[in-house]
Amino acid sequence: MKTKNNILQDPYLYIFIIFLVYPFLPYIGKYRSVGTELLIWSIFALSFNLVLGYSGLPSFGHGAFFGVGTYAVALTLLHLTSKDVTISLILAAFFGGLFTFFYGFIIKKKRGIYFSLLTVAFSQILYVIGFRWDEVTGGETGITGLQRGGFLGIQINNPITYYYFVFVLFVITLLVIRKISNSPVGKVLLALKQDEKRAQYLGFNTERQVWFIFTISGIFAGLAGGLHGLLHLSAFSDTLHWTKSGDVVMATLLGGGLANFYGPIVGAIIFISAREILSSFWDNWLLLYGLAFVVIILFIPTGLLGIVERIREKKHFEQFNNNRNNIGSKNTQEIT
């Protein structure tokens, strides 16, 4: 009985079902590319939250690793193989991981403000390369006109098959990241977030854990970037710009990545939908985007799921209190 309840209470199930039936929903189901975008941003936000929410490392340059994935896909499709995207996607994840691996080596010792500023600086280096290296990256005009082809022989050319292709990868990502955050490594990272010195005194090599989680995060960010490139069949350098890194931070914070594992997904869904809707009819939508940051930081720093969590805790607490008051003398022994 208890296990059955747990399965029903697992948000994972609902996320799975919603995304599974999304293309067949009335009114919104026909916007398949938006649905795909939501899945891709969910992957990206989940990977980012390993760094921000789990380890408490204030990265502000994650857009760069997303962009690296996009360019990896675009360049392999242009120069290596245009029929099959398997290698491209593997390379996207690989390069996302490779860049974070090297960068993690430099940054693993830094914390706090230095960490933020150095991640910004690094993403700018990649941006300048992407923006100026015309021969390879197409410079300002970027790379356009790619072909999606197939994945291991399965055709993913039409929007709905591509949607389900991304959906499968999303589910895998979700499972892997959940596995990692529930693993001993994830626990050490939580300890690091609370008090790094204490975690070190307990004998954990926190620098190596930071390096590790940064690399894992980069792998999935690269994958998300690759999928994004395949969705729009193009790659542009402005995805690498540091101001673009605000998008994923916004998605993660808005949903409540600091408080809940599923926060980034909720945030990505709300943020991307709002962006798609607002930007289609309002030129100055960035005004709201900027103000949203201010409102989130001032009023709901733990995000939407943070509020839910707080209400739930309050309920638990009240229930606990009620139980304590209601318990008669005969049950006291059972409790103690």
Binding site: L118, A121, I125, G246, V294, P301
Partner: protein
């Protein structure tokens, strides 16, 4: 021919470095005393340039020189009191994001008010003409602007090393909690320093307006060199920031000779190189920015 080119680039580098230093000092003061990454610093710079442009067109050049930075300082006072004050002492990402969000929103306001087109400020009559040294020709206005920037930098240097308020600010960059333990009003100090940073950003905007085209994104372009120089020079050291600014400015400018297309990358590479070997920056003595372990 080659020497004159090099000389011109060197001069450009010095001008660039001086302006960047003015921006970097403001950023560095807020970073040190407020322990906040002020990503709206570039926005304040942009507002300085726009105010200067609008006021000088409608009234006179000199009124604009004085009024624009003051207006920006008032704006930064508003920004500090309403928003930034609430995130002191919290996760550094919060300060970064709240100023970043404010900057994005206000940049959009600039586009709504002044439009998307870029503006330029014409050279005032007294500053027209060229400086001619044999083969070498250089704009007199640029030199005057550089001297203006240098004057500001020297004034800040004097202010920080000779006045008692400057001493408190410097001490605040080393250990801001100790400041309040010694009986000084830390919140007031932080507000004053933030306004001072805003004033410097506004002054930098006045200097930058005639040099670059005035557009809403100009602040984002100078914010990056600004914080890089603040970190390269080292927090708590005005001298370090000025030297760092000149170093980065001149290197970036001269890099045109070697890697013409990738000059923008120079400041970042220098930052990573400096922080790798000297985590506190060239002249920095402060390690309050999180734990910097060597």
């Amino acid at each position: 021919m080659n020497t004159t080119l090099c000389l011109a680039l060197l001069f450009n580098g010095i001008v660039l470095g001086l302006i960047w230093s003015v921006i970097a000092i403001g950023f560095s003061l807020v970073l040190g005393v407020g322990q906040t990454i002020n990503f709206a610093h570039g926005l304040l710079f942009t507002f300085g340039a726009y105010f200067f442009f609008s006021i000088s067109r409608n009234t006179s050049f000199w009124i604009a020189v004085i009024a624009a930075p003051i207006l920006v300082a008032i704006m930064s006072l508003f920004l500090e009191v309403v928003l930034v004050r609430r995130v002191y002492g919290q996760d550094p990402l919060f300060g970064l994001l709240i100023t970043f969000g404010f900057a994005i929103a206000m940049e959009e306001v600039i586009r709504m008010v002044w439009g998307k087109a870029a503006y330029s400020v014409s050279t005032p009559i007294f500053a027209r003409g060229q400086l001619i040294l044999g083969n070498f020709v250089y704009s007199r206005f640029r030199i005057l602007l550089a001297l203006f920037a240098l004057t500001i930098l020297l004034l800040v240097l004097w202010f920080m090393s000779k006045t008692s308020f400057g001493a408190i600010v410097k001490a605040g960059m080393f250990n801001s909690e100790m400041i309040s333990a010694l009986g000084h009003n830390l919140p007031l100090l932080r507000t004053l320093v933030f306004v001072m940073g805003g004033l410097l950003a506004g002054l930098a905007g006045v200097i930058g307006a005639p040099l670059w085209s005035i557009k809403s994104g100009m602040g984002t372009d100078v914010l990056m060199p600004g914080f890089i120089i603040a970190l390269i020079g080292g927090l708590g050291s005005i001298k370090g920031t000025i030297i760092g600014g000149l170093l980065v400015g001149i290197t970036t400018s001269l890099a045109v000779l070697v890697i013409p297309r990738f000059t923008d990358i120079i400041p970042y590479v220098m930052l990573i190189a400096v922080l790798f070997y000297k985590p506190k920056g060239l002249y920095g003595e402060v390690t309050i920015l999180g734990e910097v372990r060597e």
